[in-house]
Amino acid sequence: MISSEFDIVVVGAGPGGYVAAIRSAQLGLKTVIVEADELGGVCLNWGCIPTKALLRTAEIYKNIKNADQFGLSVSEVKVDIKRVIERSREISKQLNQGVNYLLKKNKVEIIKGWAKIEKESDGSIGVLVEGKSEGQRLLKSNNIILATGARARQLPDCHADGNLIWTYREAMTPKLLPKSLLVIGSGAIGIEFASFYSTLGSKVTVVEILDRILPQEDSEISEMARSLLEKQGIEIHTNANIKGLNTDKKRVDLEIEINGIKNNQKFDRAIVAIGIVGNVEGLGLEETNVEVEKSHVVTDEWCQTKEKGIWAIGDLVGPPWLAHKAEHEGVIAVEKIAGIDGLLPLDVTQIPSCTYSIPQIASIGLTENKANELGYEIKVGRFPFKANGKALALGESEGMVKTIFDVKSGELLGAHMIGNEVTELIQGYGIAKALETTEEELIHTVFPHPTLSESMYESVLDAYNRGIHI
């Protein structure tokens, strides 16, 4: 068996893993990355990227259907679902090749195969790889970064068979558009799929066990999102308890209790989007001191596990489960290993969250409820897209920007947005928070006119009772 030595071994080549590997190589460390499936992980191949491609089709379809509003007359537009899917697969493939190129360019060795942690007789740790093409190989290193990601959580009594009951994986490669679709779970993934299918013509029903959809977002945003989605024809049930989910040959049978009232409904297909579980199995973690809690690996603020020399990042560890969080964790772990001074751990309140449904939702920092809970005295500013010139010109006037400030220090505690392209706008607040802005600097920033981003400015003004356009 071949044994080789590396400075860092990265297990998993999703956004967390491949970014860690590239950073590691940039710092001059000898790096190897092991991937059991496709480079780019779930994000590139079965997650973030393909879904955005699909949602883009939905957006264009919606715009074409509304063409007369813009003075254009378009005769019948048809959806070629096969081509829609194909496009998303092509984009995934392209990026997949891109990651390969980047890793090679940075001289990171890539091994396709399954990795498992091995504790040697002398106490040292290594990674044993069952290579796809090269047989067994032992990778010795003082530092192993686990970035194996996560998979869809299943309902306790009903396993998604991939046929009538889908997880995200099947949901992004449907053979045809279902006439009626049940979406279980109203987090970002559930809402994005609901939006996609509904826009293309399916009758979509969303069920959520909590009292509102998008429970991680600010409650005002959840409310506005619900009302806008319902206006599009999506049926939404909150406080909904699933009592039974069964399938016969052709349809999905749902037994549900909503606010105490029992109900039976049938659907063509169902998507289970109730969260994720970390891929902690088959890694040999049981032989180490690595601690696993509720199917995620426990780490400190530097991404160290309880076993010295083993690090973990991304969806494999705690929330938020976002690709950009994984990327930053990868960099932190690598820089910590490299002994770089002056590192700062990730600040969760500086990580933005985006939902790419129609309309989009983007947020960063504390919600209003959370800020109150933490004892802050706050100022809240709001600005509706209805009062923004560009939004009207675009014909996208549904949306709003909400900003929350700490009265004492003027710190921007949180920003919450819903509307057209807000996922592209939230980085402004991200930069502001990273630089530790107060309301003063934001008020002095010159936003271009006419842009949707001006509503970000007006929201800040509104918090201090000096809104001009409202």
Partner: protein
């Protein structure tokens, strides 16, 4: 762009000056090197030279104006091509003394010449932004790197940024550094005193005492005069007076007699019955003596009005009444406001002598110590006498040494020869 001319600082201790004379008129041309005005300070008169080319657009401070703070705008020079309109729309930036380091002792030698010539603060980055807020003290050698949030938090806690280590990018001071710094101070304190004290939040009286006496010590230049007074005569007179009181209708105390003596002395030396008000000296027409009364958790000073015109019996009764009211929290504002001089007696606690703090805006306070038998020299022979040490604290802005000494001499004379109080 119009140029603002500031009142220059001509010495490290100069905080304000007078504009003695303008040597240029509004509208007159100004060239570099021209003398444009004369400044008068506490020590000397200096000339201001222009360094810019232009016209004296506007004089902001008229000739003969006094007490102009250093760095405040005194005139505006408009440049070639600008006119009155530019002047109207121009707002002089607000500059606080903190942001220019013109006054620092070390830089003084090199800076003083430049200061006299300078039309504008040397580095425009020191200027405040439009909101009128100042930047934190800027070190000549380099900027203090600090995030806006951290800067504001430091300001609110009056923290000196130069003491704080930055852990942000490039050593920038960030919010967590400010928090760590404050907490470090807190935890240090609590390690030392944990559970070793009870806490009494300040009530209004305590807050007032703290505020006024701090102001007094900070703003009033105290000086102290002390005299030992032989009071055997005083005691004799007191006893004689009290012997005449039937059924204890009244009981005169040494303190009552001190009050009377003080009042009469102030009448005889009216320049000691004064108050400094910033622009001049108020000579009180009446002698109203404030008496310091100790309360459970503080002190208050009820006033005996026209004390010089009242007999000892009246002073005694009034004093008792006021003290009683004071102890029961029943004094009305008319009873404790005002007063031209205070008398404070700690003799009953055995205090030999002490320096009291003046109650602004009064001109002084006399501190009475304990009466004790002491060895004294009488007619070149050692003898024993009952002596009280009186220490006077006086406000040097309104009362000079000679006046104070005269007052003390008069007071001592009245105490030692009580018959003088009858006049």
């Amino acid at each position: 762009m119009p140029i603002t001319i500031l009142m220059p600082s001509l010495s490290p201790t100069m905080t304000e000056g007078s504009l003695a004379k303008w040597l240029k008129k509004e509208g007159e041309n100004v060239s570099p090197g021209d003398i444009i005005a004369e400044i008068e300070t506490d020590k000397a008169t200096m000339e201001i030279e222009a360094i810019d080319e232009g016209k004296l657009g506007k004089i902001l401070v008229p000739e003969g104006s006094d007490e102009i703070p250093v760095n405040s705008p005194i005139a505006i020079i408009i440049e070639e091509g600008e006119d009155e309109e530019t002047l109207e729309n121009f707002k002089t930036p607000e500059i606080s003394m903190k942001t220019t380091n013109v006054n620092t002792g070390v830089e003084h030698e090199e800076k003083s010449k430049e200061v006299v010539n300078a039309g504008l603060a040397e580095d425009e980055s020191y200027l405040a932004n439009g909101e009128g807020e100042t930047n934190l003290p800027v070190v000549d050698e380099g900027r203090v790197f600090v995030s806006p949030l951290a800067r504001r938090l430091a300001e609110k806690q009056s923290l000196d940024l130069s003491l704080i280590r930055g852990t942000g990018p490039n050593g920038r001071i960030i919010k967590s550094d400010i928090e760590a710094f404050s907490n470090r101070n807190l935890s240090f304190k609590s390690n030392v005193d944990e559970d070793s004290y009870d806490y009494v939040p300040a009530d209004n009286m305590r807050k007032t005492i703290a505020k006024r006496l701090t102001e007094s010590k900070r703003d009033v230049p105290h000086f102290y005069l002390k005299a030992d007074c032989l009071i055997d005569e005083l005691i004799t007179v007191r006893d004689q007076l009290n012997a005449r009181s039937n059924n204890e209708a009244y009981k005169i105390s040494i303190n009552d007699m001190m009050i009377k003596a003080c009042a009469v002395a102030l009448m005889e030396v009216p320049n000691a019955n004064v108050s400094w008000d910033g622009d001049g000296i108020k000579l009180y027409k009446t002698v109203d003596i404030s008496i310091a009364v100790a309360l459970d958790n503080g002190l208050i000073t009820p006033v005996i009005r026209d004390a010089n015109e009242k007999g000892l019996r009246m002073i005694s009764e009034e004093t008792k009444l006021l003290i009683n009211k004071a102890r029961n929290g029943q004094l009305t504002p008319e009873e404790y406001n005002g007063g031209s001089f205070t008398i404070s007696n700690l003799g009953m606690f055995g205090v030999k002598e002490f320096n009291a703090v003046i109650n602004p805006p009064q001109g002084g306070i006399v501190a009475i110590g304990a009466a004790e038998k002491r060895p004294v020299v009488k007619n070149n022979v050692l003898d024993v006498a009952t002596v009280i040490t009186c220490t006077m604290s006086l406000d040097h802005r309104a009362i000079d040494g000679a006046v104070g000494a005269q007052f003390l001499e008069t007071l001592k004379s009245l105490i030692e020869n009580p018959m003088g109080m009858l006049l």
